[in-house]
């Protein structure tokens, strides 16, 4: 993993189309601004993991499960 140290207000470019900026540091939390093309999806870890888990569950639904209705 690439590790960089940044101060509030500083940013990072990822490729030539994604810009991440540290907006604010307060009480152990970091506020981050992300500028990216609309084709890039950006999700919080926990949200992404939850949806991924539910999608995997959903992909295992079988024909017989229709009888559960």
């Amino acid at each position: 993993m690439l590790v960089l140290t940044r101060k509030s207000g500083q940013g990072i470019w990822i490729g030539d189309d994604v810009h991440v900026q540290i907006l604010e540091l307060r009480d152990g939390q970091v506020k981050i601004g992300i500028r990216a093309p609309q084709t890039k999806s950006v999700h919080r870890d926990e949200v992404y993991d939850r949806i991924r888990r539910l999608n995997i569950l959903a992909s295992s639904v079988q024909e017989k499960d229709l009888d559960k209705l």
Binding site: Q38, R44, V47, L57, A58, S59, S60
Partner: protein, 144 residues
């Protein structure tokens, strides 16, 4: 017409103009981009979104307006990475929600927090993730 192998339905004939393309795939299934909607044996209100690139992957989907009329599907506030024209007018989009089986309860649930948005014009779709922190993820499926 192309012949598509599926594990649930055997070989299915699909016309090219029936294909839905998800340029980003679904979350966790980013490698699968092309799908077709097939009516389930319960009728057109419950359909299977069958992946064309993996015979074993199909998602049971429903129109949330039919099964969960009282539930408001919230679309993401952020940019919808569809065609700009479709993104401007959500009313033109077809919205589908994924179903999964809660194994503990043995019931079908609807995931209302990651709906599929399909643009009939471009036949492109995305899975929108509405990421309200702490929001509950699913509701048991009710018949309307």
């Amino acid at each position: 017409m192309m012949e598509v192998a599926t594990t649930r339905f055997g070989t299915v004939a699909v016309a090219e103009d029936e294909v839905w393309t998800f340029p980003q795939g679904l979350v966790g299934f980013e490698h699968l981009k092309r799908y077709v909607l097939l009516d389930s044996r319960k009728g057109a209100s419950l359909q299977w979104l069958q992946a064309l690139e993996d015979p074993s992957v199909a998602f049971l989907v429903c129109d949330p307006k039919v099964f969960l009329p009282s539930v408001e599907i919230r679309l993401p506030e952020g940019p919808a990475p569809l065609e700009p024209e479709a993104g401007k007018d959500f009313r033109k989009l077809k919205i589908l929600t994924l179903l999964y089986v809660d194994r503990a309860e043995g019931k079908l649930h609807v995931n209302v927090h990651a709906p599929l948005l399909l643009d009939p014009g471009s036949r492109k779709g995305i899975q929108a993730v509405t990421d309200a922190p702490g929001a509950t993820v699913s509701l048991p499926l009710q018949k309307s």
